[in-house]
């Protein structure tokens, strides 16, 4: 079975850099200073649905992303919530946008 390949990258808030993420040939990515993907690539990536981030209000946003339709892995974003939230399935993040997480399971 081939290795699982991940990318970590501070994207410097450049929307065009989503194409570079795609071109990097990785299975999933851990991104920082990420704007929302451009419309042309929005359906290619699986990321946490976040209205505030989609409107680009979180300049320093961290994003866990995967390529949609990959047959190599299952990618499930973990919900986040502000400190004091009461959703037992969501990760408390003390400063929204600075941490993102996902469960990645390699398909056998």
């Amino acid at each position: 079975m081939p290795n699982l390949k991940l990318l970590s990258w501070n994207m410097n808030q450049k929307v065009d850099n989503w194409q570079t993420v795609l071109d990097s040939g990785v299975d999933a990515a851990m991104l920082q200073e990420a704007k929302a993907p451009p419309e042309a690539l929005a359906d290619i990536f699986m990321i946490q649905q976040d209205k505030e981030a989609a409107e680009n209000k979180l300049l320093w946003r961290a994003v866990a992303a995967s390529i949609v339709n990959t047959d190599k892995l299952d990618f499930t974003p973990i919900k986040t919530q502000p400190f004091g939230g009461n959703d037992p399935e969501a990760l408390m993040v003390s400063r929204p946008g600075t941490l993102d997480a996902a469960v990645v399971q390699v398909k056998r």
Binding site: N3, L6, M30
Partner: protein
């Protein structure tokens, strides 16, 4: 982060933010050993030394790595030689035995003259031996950001 105004200080410090993230990460850990977690990103701190050789700064930065280690999250790179090219010329502030590889260049630098490693990868002890980390920090590979890309491969 900055100290409050009353301190009269113009410091900018990042270890506080890194510790805040470490606290948040604890919510992903529900067992002492055996978890399988990869943590990666721009922590904006230094590994193994402090700014301008400051022992005080080095001590503060090291506490972040110590806390991650306490959570069974091992620092796995990138580090030379497999993890990328080291700074040339050698930065004055960097210890001579450091294995750090530059991941960031500031506004007066370029990929060719980058000096500091600000990006780090950690892996759970249970999988750390199966993880390799490579910094794409050559001029040709750097990419369109002030931080280079880091590739993490996990043998499954």
């Amino acid at each position: 982060m900055n100290p409050i105004k009353q301190t009269g200080s113009s410091w900018i410090f990042a270890d506080g933010s890194a510790h805040r993230l470490t606290s948040d990460l604890s919510g992903l850990i529900g067992q002492q050993n055996g978890h399988k977690i990869i943590v990666a990103g721009d922590l904006n701190i230094l590994y193994g030394y402090g700014e301008d050789n400051s022992p005080y700064g080095a001590k503060r930065h090291s506490t972040v790595f110590n806390r991650m280690d306490a959570l069974a999250l091992r620092f796995v790179g990138p580090q030379a030689p497999e993890g990328g090219k080291q700074a040339e010329p050698w930065p004055k502030e960097l210890p001579v035995d450091s294995l750090n590889v530059p991941t960031f260049y500031h506004s007066r630098q370029s990929p060719e003259t980058a000096t500091r490693q600000l990006d780090f990868v950690f892996a759970s002890d249970s999988i750390a031996d199966r993880v390799s980390v490579k910094d794409l920090n050559s001029v040709e590979e750097w990419g369109p950001s002030d931080h280079c890309r880091i590739i993490i491969e996990i043998a499954v």
